[in-house]
């Protein structure tokens, strides 16, 4: 490799950093097995609604074969009955029919191709939709265990591979088979000896093709692996270019890239070789057959057993014979990858990892709500308990603050309350009734959750505030934004409530996003407000605004706050101090300070060390952790 030479001058500097290059965490998924017939049947369930369209397509296939295969026969008649006898009277009928078959073939082909894809894409649209809906119902623990990348592949790449199989005309494999068998029958009927002679080439062709194709497939697979690595390296280099440059690593990265690139090139060059051979074989075999037919036909023709027209027709038929053979092999590969994809898709669809729903859910009890955690145990995985017997109650209209260092289980409390996860042991009760008895979505609608990471989607400001609920009036929205001081910045945005928010709110500051989340929570008018205070760096003015907004938000409201701000904590009716999955102290700010326990230690540490702009308790809390 060329770059190695340039380094030979410097003895010390020739060792490439060991191990994997950038982007080397690339790996492929493995597969379990499903029965092929089962897969076909599952696919059929999606095609069923459009079965009449598919039926029409299938019926068109023999018709297409027929118009195409009648042409050599017409040529034969023209030669034997008109051209050789040198009398063209009445030949116009043959010509007219021939012209008719050309036009007919075109039109039928158009209709068949179009209808098939029309039907197929409908089926795939339904599949996509079902897949997406299904994923929405899967439990949070499923999402925790499954990398998003893998799910993305199921919902995108795998469905695409079905799409590719469809647009390459997998269904026309049936047509190919019809054409092939029709040619075999026609030739056998016309002259079985000549037919057998013509077909001698076929087994040899098949064998050679299979061998070459085997190598070609291996070579292709290698190129796919290499290009995935190449692109992974490139993508990561682009994203991390500043770091690469700051650590003067450009040349290392360049040489890594060049190595992968040359591996990719060489893999391609290998596949080009097999591809060229395969292509040439397929091209040559038609011409070889011409020679073979001429050879075998010479005797019978001269004896008058085979006419010249039949000879020409044989040549034409054999040319038509190789086209579907070539396509079949290609389509078979696509079919296989489509099968593999559909297998993965159906596996996902069969995943029934959902939060269990009660068969006849109870209606929620009368408001106001009192919430109780009763001896709750919970862990995200079996060997690691996050909550270890947690007990507390939130009374109606009470403002409760949760305090504790990272990992104490604060976020888990929210996840359990909204039943993203179910408790392992113990119970969560609303007015004395287990929350698992209620309808899941009904339950979740009682809460408004404001998380640190504000969820915003592509759409207008208004849509993001109302979460798409059209029954909310503009006045309500305006009032809510005013109350949490979000109106000021919204009014400065172009289009105000019609302002288009970018993907994940990319065109808003983190403080603005917080205020939007507050307004949204007000609009929802929940029974219980759950707030996970953000600790993002915002400037002092915004910070002051957010504090005032939180105060408004929590007025006359049953609320549970994972608190980081001193002000929020101090104004809580009750502070719950969590440590290691248990409640260790509870009371008001003053009571807890007086108690002189865990909380007061946290507080003093904060007071002693914090001179940060945002005045969070977090620093102090984390200092302990």
């Amino acid at each position: 490799m060329s770059h190695d030479d340039s380094h030979s001058t410097n003895g010390e500097k020739e060792k490439r950093p060991t191990g994997a290059a950038i982007g080397s965490a690339f790996k492929e998924d493995s597969l379990d097995t499903f029965s092929d017939l089962g897969l076909v049947y599952r696919m059929w369930t999606y095609m069923r609604p459009y079965r009449w369209l598919f039926l029409v397509c299938l019926l068109l296939l023999p018709l297409i074969s027929a118009v195409s295969l009648v042409q050599p026969w017409l040529l034969q008649i023209a030669i034997d009955d008109y051209i050789v006898p040198e009398s063209l009277d009445g030949m116009w009928i043959i010509l007219a029919v021939y012209a008719g078959t050309v036009v007919g073939h075109s039109i039928l082909m158009y209709a068949q191709q179009y209808l098939m894809k029309y039907a197929g894409h409908q089926a795939l649209r339904d599949l996509r939709q079902q897949l997406f809906s299904h994923v929405q119902d899967l439990s949070s623990s499923f999402f925790k265990q499954t990398p998003i990348g893998r799910l993305m592949t199921r919902l995108t790449t795998d469905v695409e591979s079905l799409e590719e199989a469809l647009s390459s005309g997998i269904i026309t494999m049936v047509g190919d088979l019809i054409t092939l068998s029709a040619i075999v029958v026609i030739l056998l009927v016309k002259d079985w000896r000549l037919a057998l002679a013509s077909f001698t080439v076929v087994p040899i062709l098949l064998l050679v093709t299979l061998v070459v194709r085997h190598f070609l497939r291996k070579a292709y697979r290698a190129t796919r692996v290499k290009i995935a690595r190449l692109y992974a390296h490139l993508q990561e280099s682009i994203t991390g270019m500043e770091v690469i440059q700051l650590f003067v690593r450009e040349n290392v990265s360049r040489d890594e890239y060049r190595d992968i690139n040359s591996e990719y090139r060489d893999a391609n060059i290998r596949s080009i070789r097999w591809d060229a051979i395969l292509y040439a074989i397929i091209e040559a075999v038609g011409s070889i057959t011409i020679g073979v037919i001429l050879w075998y036909a010479s005797g019978p023709t001269l004896q008058g057993a085979v006419t010249l027209g039949v000879l020409v027709a044989f040549i034409e038929y054999m040319q038509k014979f190789f086209v579907p053979i070539r396509d079949l092999a290609e389509k078979y590969n696509l079919l296989q990858s489509a099968m593999a994809s559909s297998e993965r898709i159906f596996q996902l669809l069969d995943t029934k990892d959902q939060i269990p729903q009660s068969d006849n859910p109870k209606t929620l009890p009368d408001r106001p709500f009192e919430i109780e955690f009763r001896d709750v145990h919970f862990g995200y995985n079996e060997d690691e308990q996050v909550l270890k017997g947690l007990n507390f109650t939130i009374h109606p209209c009470e403002r409760v603050a949760l305090v504790g260092h990272t990992g104490a289980g604060k976020s888990t409390v929210i996840n359990l309350l909204t039943r993203l996860y179910d408790v392992d042991e113990g119970q969560i009760l609303i007015n004395g009734e287990d929350i698992r008895q209620f309808e899941l979505r009904q339950l979740r609608r009682q809460f408004a959750i404001v998380l640190q990471d504000v969820f915003l989607f592509q759409g207008t400001m208004l849509e993001n505030l109302t979460l798409g609920d059209e029954s909310v009036s503009l006045q309500q929205v305006q009032r809510a934004t005013e109350m949490v001081y979000a109106d000021r910045f919204i009014n400065e945005l172009p289009g105000k409530f019609d302002f288009e928010i970018a993907e994940r709110g990319g065109n808003l500051s983190s403080g603005e996003k917080q205020l939007i989340a507050f307004a949204r929570a007000l609009i929802l008018q929940p029974e219980i407000l759950v707030l996970d205070e953000a600790t993002a760096n915002v400037d002092t003015d915004t910070e002051a605004l957010i504090q005032k907004a939180i105060e408004k938000l929590l007025e006359h409201q049953t609320s549970l706050v994972i608190a980081h701000r001193l002000s929020t904590i101090q104004r809580a009716d009750r502070i719950l101090v969590l440590d290691d999955g248990r409640l260790i102290e509870e009371g008001t700010h003053e009571e807890l300070l007086e108690f002189g326990g865990h909380y007061s230690k946290l507080y003093r540490l904060q007071y002693a060390t914090s001179s940060g702009e945002d005045g969070t308790l977090d620093n102090a809390v984390q200092a302990r952790g």
Binding site: F247, D275, A297
Partner: protein, 638 residues
């Protein structure tokens, strides 16, 4: 993100001067012109042989016809003549096949070599482009240029070359032979071809455009899925599933409709190919049969002629493709060469670069003087406005100010990620632009605000900088071998890199985290490996920066995700490690500032105050104000 069909028009606009474009295309083609020339030769060979076959077929038919029509000939002799013709045909077919293999191998390999060169050139160039460039181009656009567009360019070189040469040769030979058989029939036969060619060109163009539309709709759909999956917990909490399913359904429907349009065009293409394939034979049949009966043609030449017409079907269809590939390839080439021609915003020194003075026990290094610099990212708002400051060699300073005041910008200018619009920055007395860019960067340890790690192992990430120093001969710095926590002034014995790494891990408080991973330092960072927490990532980036023994260490708010206790410990050790060299701290937390040598306060791109903590407090200016406001609010909260 989404590309509407209207935007695709940009594909049609060529901005490059054709002569310049030709020159650039030639530049990549030149090294492999021998390969391509050989390819053309093999194409000529294969076509010469392939187009002889119809001639021999016609001959064979004529022999047979003679044998049938004339009495008393020696049938055995005729038969062996025909068999001889058959053998020639088989031999020609095989010969043509072999030549075809070589034509494709040479030309396609040539394409891959060109692709290889372009990819390398692109990467090398990308590594020279500055953050200003990366900020100006959407990542999606950049990615598609370096991936899809390069592929299109390769196809432009290889496939269009192959098809154009092949079609040219095929048509020349076929026309020559056809005209030799029957000029009149040739002209009649070719009459519809211009129209068919035009039609197929149109359909294929439509196909390409619609394919792009479908692809962009597909990427919309993927974006929706991505957005949904990454926010799935929030969606569930807010009971937004129905709404999500509905909006996904809308995108799904649009995707379906565009697919149906594509299906229509594809079906049209199929129909058209059938027309092209059969029209020639139909005309030969209609007109040729008269020519045979009326005299000028024989049955053999009738069959021969049809053979040529059939052999022209594929080159004709291929020509239709070529137009589309050509167009797409040129547009892609322009986008790629636009990247390659983009001049990096930072100049290397014109004269001999000035070396930086070596550190010695007697001489502290890392002195930075910033003289009257102004800077703007977009020419509209000033990020830095006439700032001057001096950081003495071997000191530890802090830069404070609100978010957006310009702190990060200032240190990025010191690391020369950008050049100031006005003014000058010197390091150890040498203006930045007189130092080789990479020499400068090798002397700066930068810990960015957003910790960026590569999907390698944790160890490889920590060694990221020193590995390059060890490998790259163009760098005049070698990996340092003194222990990080060596005592000042004394020559300490060299230690191995592994020992230094262990030290760095210890200093960055990473030991506990790494012990927790099964593979320790060899644990992969990334989607399938371990995803590190924000604090862990920051500590890895600190270790990464310390190991290169920088003359200037910059911590750009780099301790934000680290708890105060660890922060204190790291800062204390930094003083020892960075003894005799300079550290610059950007922070929102004031607790670290009492012990730094100097604090610079920046407001809206201007330096408003400087001094030690005590001096600034005494002065009662902006710093004291920020500090007091903080305290006030705390009191108010009580």
């Amino acid at each position: 993100m989404s590309t509407s069909p209207e935007n695709l028009v940009t594909d049609e606009d060529f901005t490059l001067d054709p002569a310049v474009r030709r020159r650039r295309l030639w530049h990549y083609f030149r090294p492999y012109r021998g390969l391509f020339l050989a390819g053309a030769f093999f194409l000529l060979l294969t076509n010469l042989m392939a187009f002889s076959i119809p001639f021999y077929l016609g001959e064979g038919i004529e022999f047979l016809r003679d044998g049938l029509s004339e009495e008393g000939l020696n049938l055995d002799a005729i038969r062996s003549d025909v068999i001889g013709v058959a053998i020639v045909i088989i031999a020609l077919a095989i010969g043509a096949g072999i030549a075809r293999v070589f034509s494709r191998i040479t030309i396609f390999n040539g394409g891959r070599y060109i692709e290889f060169d372009i990819r390398n050139a692109l990467y090398t160039h990308l590594a020279r482009l500055t953050p200003r460039f990366y900020g100006s181009i959407p990542t999606g656009d950049l990615t598609s240029r370096v991936t899809n567009d390069v592929t299109h360019v390769r196809v432009l070189y290889a496939l269009t070359y192959l098809h154009i040469i092949n079609t040219l040769i095929a048509y020349s030979i076929a026309l020559y032979r056809m005209a030799g058989v029957d000029l009149y029939l040739t002209l009649v036969c070719l009459a519809p071809y211009p129209f068919l060619l035009l039609a197929i060109r149109k359909v294929i163009r439509a196909l390409f455009l619609q394919t792009k539309v479908v692809q962009s709709r597909l990427s919309d759909l993927s974006t929706r899925v991505q957005e949904n999956l990454s926010g799935i917990d929030v969606i569930k909490s807010y009971v937004l599933e129905e709404r999500e399913i509905e909006t996904y359904g809308e995108s799904n429907d649009i995707f379906f409709e565009e697919n149906v349009k594509l299906a229509k065009i594809r079906a049209m293409l199929h129909a058209l190919i059938i027309l092209i394939a059969s029209t020639g034979t139909l005309i030969v049949l209609v007109v040729g049969s008269h020519r045979v009966v009326n005299g000028p043609m024989t049955l053999g030449s009738f069959v021969e002629f049809n053979g040529y017409v059939v052999a022209l079907v594929f080159p004709t269809i291929a020509l239709g493709w070529v137009f589309a590939i050509w167009h797409r390839g040129l547009a892609a080439f322009e986008r790629v060469s636009e990247l390659l021609e983009h001049t990096p915003a930072l100049d290397e020194p014109h004269n001999d670069p000035t070396p930086l003075p070596d550190p010695s026990p007697q001489r502290d290094v890392g002195e930075i003087s910033v003289k009257k610099i102004s800077f703007s990212y977009d020419d509209k708002t000033q990020a830095l406005d006439d700032i001057s400051l001096h950081i003495p060699a071997g000191s530890t300073v802090a830069i404070v100010g609100k978010t957006g005041a310009g702190k990060s910008t200032l240190v990025k200018l010191i690391a020369r990620l950008y050049d100031p619009d006005e003014g000058q920055i010197c390091i150890d007395g040498v203006p930045l632009e007189e130092i080789r860019l990479r020499t400068l960067r090798a002397e700066i340890g930068f810990v960015p605000q957003e910790p960026f790690l590569f999907s390698m192992t944790i160890g490889q990430n920590i060694r990221f900088g020193i590995d390059s120093l060890a490998y790259d001969p163009t760098l005049d710095k070698c990996p340092p071998d003194s222990p990080l926590l060596s005592t000042a002034g004394e020559e300490s014995a060299p230690v191995s890199q592994d020992e230094r790494i262990d030290e760095a891990v210890e200093i960055a408080a990473l030991q506990g985290d790494i012990d927790g991973f099964q593979d320790g330092l060899d644990t992969l960072v990334g989607e399938r490996g371990v995803t590190l927490s924000g604090g862990q990532k920051q500590r890895v980036t600190i270790a990464r920066a310390l190991l290169v023994d920088p003359r200037v260490l910059i911590l750009d708010d780099a301790l934000a995700s680290i708890d105060t206790h660890t922060e204190r410990r790291i800062l204390d050790q930094l003083k020892v490690i960075m003894r005799g060299r300079t550290s610059i701290l950007l922070t929102h937390r004031f607790n670290a500032l009492t012990e730094v040598d100097k604090i610079f306060v920046i407001e809206q791109g201007r330096l408003v105050e400087q001094g030690t903590h005590d001096e600034l407090m005494e002065r009662g200016g902006a710093y004291a104000d920020m500090y007091h406001r903080q305290k006030l609010r705390e009191q108010f909260d009580e």
